[in-house]
């Protein structure tokens, strides 16, 4: 199952033009700030609409401008971690994750939430409120929430930006392990070369609103050295 993206979007003076395929595994979307990385993720998630083109996951069209169809955000089966965790402050950690979890009954959803909190190493603070957590703990919970609904696509928008180097390294390893385990097509946005080198199975480069595939890390390094 792979994601196919072929879209154009125009917001004021900014033009985004993205054409690529996302296979299962970890694809890093690399580029400087303002290159259109977050905007692209929002188009895929359905939080914004493209001006033209289409986005499909396997045989499901998320959006197809030529047919004027667009799947609502909540029906796209996407897990997403934003730059900020956006955990609900009035709910405990486990209740936050249970909101996104699959399951017919409340007990099922809480059980699923506990399972994902365990896999992201977040059980020690599962009963706490978000304001009692550190930045790294919050992003572990956000990662658990993103995975709890059984997504078919995982989008990570510079999720560890606000963390120190050691925490970033640990969370990178966690993401790597979870993606290997679940085999979900994953798009990881970063402008950090270390993150790119450690995580990427495939690389996409974003530059001035244009997003293209650049094969692998070695090719990216050559590209970055001689753009």
């Amino acid at each position: 199952m792979s994601l196919r993206v072929d879209v154009r979007a125009r917001v004021g003076e900014f033009h985004l033009d993205a054409r690529f395929e996302l296979p299962p595994g970890l694809t890093v979307l690399f580029g400087p700030s303002g290159a259109g990385k977050t905007r692209l993720l929002r188009l895929i998630a359905g939080l914004d609409q493209p001006t033209e083109g289409r986005i499909t996951l396997a045989d499901r069209a998320f959006v197809d401008r030529s047919e004027r169809t667009s799947l609502p955000v909540h029906e796209r089966d996407i897990g997403m971690v934003f730059q900020q965790p956006y955990l609900l402050p009035h709910r405990t950690v486990v209740a936050n994750v249970a909101l996104a979890a699959d399951g017919r009954t409340r007990q099922d959803r809480r059980a699923a939430a506990w399972n994902w909190l365990e896999r992201t190493g977040a059980t020690p603070f599962a009963e706490r409120r978000p304001h009692q957590l550190s930045g790294g703990q919050k992003q572990r919970v956000a990662l658990a929430r993103a995975l709890a609904g059984g997504p078919q696509l995982l989008l990570l928008d510079e999720p560890f930006n606000a963390l120190d180097l050691e925490r970033r390294r640990r969370l990178r390893r966690l993401v790597r392990a979870l993606v290997d385990e679940t085999a979900i097509p994953t798009l990881f946005v970063t402008h950090d070369v270390d993150e790119l080198a450690e995580l990427a199975d495939q690389v996409l480069i974003a530059e001035h609103g244009t997003v293209r595939t650049v094969a692998d890390v070695a090719a990216t390094m050559r590209y970055l050295g001689d753009p």
């Binding site: 009035h90 709890a148 609904g149």
Partner: protein, 221 residues
């Protein structure tokens, strides 16, 4: 104080409580719609709903009287269903207090909902929430402090309504005479002692309610 008639206080509390219930339902639903959906006539609806803040209460009362009077479609329908007219009843006082207090709840709740960081709702939508569940699980709890503040303002306004209530419910002792009207009534009769007691009681009730709400507001999140 044994000869003070407490009916106006009890009626005021009943009227203000029911009016606040109506205001909360309409105000919060309206605030959600105004801050989350774009539709034609949105600005006009917001302006009309805010009119009670700027109109003299008697003018508001006049409009209400025309709207629910015996010759109006609403008044006729009410009379056909309930077997009595709506104007000059305590139910009309509830309606008057609700209309007069609505903008305080609506505007405060609209501001509170509009101030929420859109990221919370976006993260919840991606996680699968939508519609009323999104509203009740994410949006309204995040705006809880502002909504509680709006509801308490509306209660205070409903409790203190004079002009609008007088226009549509009259001043019938033992039936429609609310606390503020009773104070006016006592002053007209040069009974300043009773007026003073009633005013002090009403002020105390209002202060207690506002203190309770303040505490609720602080523990909302």
């Amino acid at each position: 104080m044994s000869d003070v008639d407490w009916f106006p206080l009890l009626l005021s509390l009943r009227v203000a409580t029911l009016a606040t219930l109506v205001t909360t339902l309409v105000g919060v639903a309206g605030a959600y719609a105004l801050s989350r959906f774009r539709f034609p006539g949105r600005g006009l609806i917001e302006a009309i709903a805010s009119l009670p803040i700027v109109l003299p209460p008697t003018v508001l009362g006049y409009y209400l009287l025309v709207t629910i009077g015996r010759n109006s479609p609403i008044g006729r329908t009410y009379e056909a269903v309930f077997g009595q007219q709506l104007v000059f009843t305590w139910q009309a006082a509830v309606l008057a207090a609700a209309v007069a207090s609505l903008p305080y709840c609506l505007r405060t709740a609209t501001a509170a909902i509009s101030a929420i960081d859109a990221g919370y709702e976006e993260a919840a939508r991606v996680a699968g929430l939508h519609g009323t569940r999104l509203a009740f699980v994410v949006t309204l709890p995040l705006a809880a402090r502002g909504i509680i503040a709006g509801v308490s303002l509306a209660f205070a306004r409903a409790l203190g309504d004079f002009g609008t209530t007088l226009m549509v419910a009259g001043n019938i002792p033992g039936r429609t005479q609310t606390m503020p009207i009773a104070v006016y009534d006592r002053v007209q009769a040069f009974d300043y002692a009773t007026a003073g007691v009633l005013a002090a009681v009403l002020s105390t009730v209002a202060i207690v309610v506002l203190l309770v709400v303040r505490r609720l507001e602080r523990t909302a999140l």
